[in-house]
């Protein structure tokens, strides 16, 4: 009996498959699974961002922190282990800088971003909210298609942030938009809830006392015309992130670098510059102090030097004078 049932179901499934292939043509279902994890040394904000992303991406698999920061190619094996074909890896450095790696294992390209202006849902008190696991609309800036490296970035984003149809925990309704915009050489990510308000209803409420009949008529009208009557507005959900692409590698966490952002300045360098600039003040002052000492000596204003013309002091003074004139 069971065999019969099996054969029947098999036949049905094959039929349905055929139908689907007929209707969609050569397009297959896009299977996407994202491995999300971070390195050690993330701060709470980084952790919260991770949490937000996992809650927004039902097709993601969250894993424990990765121990190493140098052998990132281990991630490929990990992805294989978890059956994932996308990796979203957050690398924290010095407990303040966050880098995001986006990759297509086993041999897709890898993009490394520097994460800036990071704000999680927790700290942004936005009133927007959406279903956990609903599929987002992905809105891309046209600029993404202007340059090849941006095209790669866009493709990776489509696959990691786009929830595939029929993903395990996904919901059938669409109630939020993720927007990706290129501005100032950076990718800005925002997430909005879609609020629908029926205009007909609003009007009815506005009229209020006029009578139920009118309301009914309007409702009917609304039903007839349907779609055009609703007004769409957006409410931001969060999180907010700005990504600066740094490099693109040809392989997954390996291979030659095929793109490098020349506008990118490492935060370490920035900090060093800042520190140097501040140190300069001290350096200048200390140099001035030394110069003043020498000048004093040259003018014999120093009390102890007044009597003595020769000897060691005299030699010192001569040397000092020499230095002074050389400097000038």
């Amino acid at each position: 009996m069971s065999a019969v049932l099996k054969s029947v179901t098999d036949a049905r499934s094959t039929k349905s498959k055929e139908e689907s292939t007929d209707s969609a043509g050569p397009d297959k279902k896009f299977r996407q699974r994202v491995l999300i994890l971070s390195s050690r040394g993330v701060t709470y904000r980084h952790r919260h961002l991770l949490q937000d992303l996992t809650s927004l991406l039902p097709h993601s698999r969250k894993d424990s922190k990765l121990d190493t920061k140098s052998k990132l190619f281990q991630l490929n094996e990990l992805a294989d282990l978890y059956n994932c074909n996308n990796i979203l890896f957050f690398e924290a450095r010095k407990r303040e800088d966050l880098y995001m790696w986006m990759s297509k294992p086993p041999n897709g390209p890898t993009v490394k971003f520097h994460v800036q202006n990071l704000h999680t849902m927790e700290e942004l008190h936005f009133s927007g909210n959406c279903l956990k696991g609903s599929r987002p609309l992905l809105s891309f800036d046209k600029t993404f298609e202007s340059k090849p490296h941006l095209m790669v970035v866009k493709e990776l984003m489509v696959q990691t942030f786009g929830v595939p149809k029929g993903a395990r925990k996904s919901k059938p309704f669409v109630d939020h938009v993720m927007s990706f915009t290129v501005a100032d050489g950076k990718v800005w990510i925002r997430c909005y809830q879609i609020c629908e308000a029926e205009l007909g209803k609003k009007d009815a409420k506005g009229n209020g006392v006029d009578g139920e009949e009118e309301d009914d008529e309007k409702k009917k009208k609304g039903r007839k015309t349907g779609r055009s009557e609703t007004e769409i507005s957006l409410l931001e959900i969060g999180p907010r992130v700005v990504l600066t692409p740094i490099i693109i590698q040809e392989g997954s966490f390996g291979g030659p670098i095929i793109y490098e952002n020349k506008e990118y300045v490492s935060p370490n360098v920035l900090r060093a510059e800042y520190r140097n600039r501040r140190a300069q003040k001290f350096n200048v002052r200390s140099a001035q102090k030394v110069g003043r000492e020498i000048k004093k000596k040259a003018l014999r204003l120093d009390k102890h030097r007044v009597g003595g013309g020769g000897g060691k002091d005299w030699e010192e003074l001569q040397a000092g004078l020499k230095d002074l004139f050389q400097e000038d």
């Binding site: 297509k104 609309l137 891309f140 489509v158 290129v182 925002r190 920035l270």
Partner: protein, 352 residues
Amino acid sequence: MEVDGEWESESDEEEDSEDDERVIDMSKLEDSDSENSEDDDEEEEETKKPRNGILKSSKATTAADEEDEEDEEDEEDEEDIPLSEISEEDEDPEADIIPRQKLTIDNHSALTASHASIALPIKKSTPFSIHHTIITSTPVEIKDVHDDLTRELAFYTQALDAAKQGRALLLAEGAPFTRPTDYFAEMVKSEEHMGKIKEKIKEQAAMKQASTDAKRQRDLKKFGKQVQVARLQERQKEKREMLDKINILKRKRAGADLGDENEGDPFDIAIEKASKVNGREGRDRKGPNVKRQKRNEKFGYGGKKKFSKSGDAVSSGDLGGFNSKGMKKNSFGNGKKAKAPRPGKSKRQTRR
């Protein structure tokens, strides 16, 4: 598919060593004609590297030269690895601080190849419900990225357009879009979180309300003070006028007392009547009682009280109480009659 294979193989080889790269280049040369130019470029690139390095080290390049180089770079976008220098007058504020020279890589062919290798096979016939991606018709331009309001507005409009478009597409395809009101499921933000947010919003609203209230109150207070001052002044004026009137009447009355008592003045009578009503008889003729008058003299009534007891030029110059004899007086009286000398011992003893 051919392209894919090629690139993969190349990447593998490149990992091994740089020496192999040339060999592969040659193989690629044989492979396809289209890639010829790129390979040439690569080789050119290799020869260029040292030359540019010299340029950098010599630092003889003027600003104009740098610009030229950048122009070249733009033209040479087709090249595999253009070298570039970030000029000191860069628009980027960060680069403004840090003039640096950086070797950058922008391998267009490799990028396009890797894009092709991972791109989803999305065609026009592919239903929208499968990929859910919308690209704006025109590039989003933001004038000033550091201006929060305009930037966020641009993002919002982009997302809103996408939402409208996507909704229309999905509804046209018959795919579900709106969540029915009776569909409940776990949300991204928990109830607790939403409660927090609501509280925050309420708090903000309350604070706003409080601040506006305080402002209004302040304004009112300012105005109220003015009103109060005006009223006080008015009252004072009234009082003064009244006192003046009374004084005049009093004077009149005193004159009347001295002169003709019989002279009947209806106004006087009226005042008398009024005073009768006001206080007891007899007292108001002499004004306040004697005790009060004396006290007023002593302690003062009205006028400045401060420093009234301190000395001034007149008081210090006043020698009324001074007597030169007084200086010679001792406690027993006259100076001449000084106290009797102490009696002798025997006398004192006998006195006892």
